[in-house]
Symmetry: C2
DNA sequence: CGAAGACTTGATTCTAGTCAACTCCCGTGG
DNA sequence: CCACGGGAGTTGACTAGAATCAAGTCTTCG
């Protein structure tokens, strides 16, 4: 069954982007630089302008879960009440628009903005629910296939870039790097995808990928 | 590390409950009756009055993921854009308050209501993120332990009721019923919890349960 | 060119899944 | 009230899939 779910639609609407442009500050982050930290107060809201961001959460013994990846146009920092429940880090050098929540709040009367932020929160929830299904009920191969599928759908060009390393993929999918690597090799062996170096691939058989992603 | 996370706080605020009381309809559902269906249009919003509800999502081959359980005071049906991404079913005979989204929309000017609904969506997102962590990075034992912990925190009485069967627990935790059963036996063997029949338990060692839940 | 880090591959282990039998409830009807 | 039956839950033996441990190889970058 198919769901009306567009993983590639950006989270920020024009209404939000406009306000953030007006009130916000452009900031650059280096690869792996921390944008905000788990358990820190959630003061700011971000839009990715260029580059990509990951959110992560650590268990006390060091196990890590990647919550999500964010690309240009995505709102980051919604995933939260008063405290950040995840950390956010730059996946590569990137530029973000940053704005104080309190500054956004002075626009509270602005119905469009409120509605847009709520809408964005709902879309974030939808993404998280898709992710839940992947973690709970898919095999390693299905996880990796659906991950590549999501990326390829977002970036419709022939060559799809993987902005994250194997460890990030593994921690996103609830696997180890070795298992991710093996599944990638397997998908290549089945001529479903074709890698050109380890950070760039091409889907050679969409139907097969779709079927494997379940 | 501890997070300011209260899994037992109901999702509906007084502002929402008040409007729903005014505009809503009380409906009864029998055990296992469908409340709404995956891929159906999302017209209605629900508050659990008595009983409990589960949301589920099916993969084409029959694998099932339980999205969440809802108890009295919880809002159900937020988890959605225009189409329901999950089905909802009564876990036991239960009563819900039902209201049309469009009816709520006529109160759009009501800032409190809008804010409360957004807030509720954010709390739903938080719950989903906690669930994500459990599915992605915890072992079978930790999954079961943290599940029992959540239940026990919600229902602070000595004897905690399990309103769901083993299959629902398994599909919520991404396990099989056999594994859930084994882990429950194990936790009992370690004198962490004590079962009185298979639908009722008591936490005998909170510290141990907390440690096992990670 | 050399070194460090990222990725892949192989051998082995271990956790959770599968399949099958068994037990315990619990409700029903004699 | 007890016997029976069926569904839910538990337990055991075995298997499969992913994790772990340990080399390797490929990249990238100074």
């Amino acid at each position: 069954m198919t769901l009306a779910y567009a993983p590639d639609a950006p989270l920020a609407t024009p209404a939000i982007a406009q306000v953030m442009e007006r009130l916000g500050l452009r900031m650059n982050f280096a690869k792996d630089e921390e944008i905000f930290c788990q358990d820190e107060e959630a003061d700011l809201l971000y839009i990715v302008v260029t580059g990509a961001v990951r959110t992560t959460r650590l268990l006390s013994d060091g196990r890590r879960q990647v919550g999500s990846f964010y690309y240009p146009g995505d709102l980051v920092g919604l995933e939260t009440g008063d405290l950040h429940r995840f950390s956010a880090e730059a996946l590569c050098d990137c530029t973000l628009l940053v704005v104080k929540r309190s500054a956004v709040k002075t626009f509270a009367g602005d119905e469009d903005l409120d509605r847009a932020l709520w809408q964005a929160t709902r879309r974030e929830l939808e993404r998280t629910q898709e992710h839940l299904l992947v973690l709970g009920r898919k095999t390693a191969c299905e996880k990796v296939a659906s991950f590549l599928m999501d990326l390829a759908q977002r970036d419709r060009s022939e060559q799809v870039a993987l902005p994250m390393g194997r460890q990030d993929m593994a921690d996103y999918l609830g696997l180890t790097i070795e298992t991710v690597s093996r599944m990638l090799t397997q998908l290549q062996g089945a001529s479903v995808v074709e890698f050109d170096g380890c950070r760039r691939f091409r889907v050679t058989r969409w139907d097969a990928l779709e079927r494997l992603a379940e």
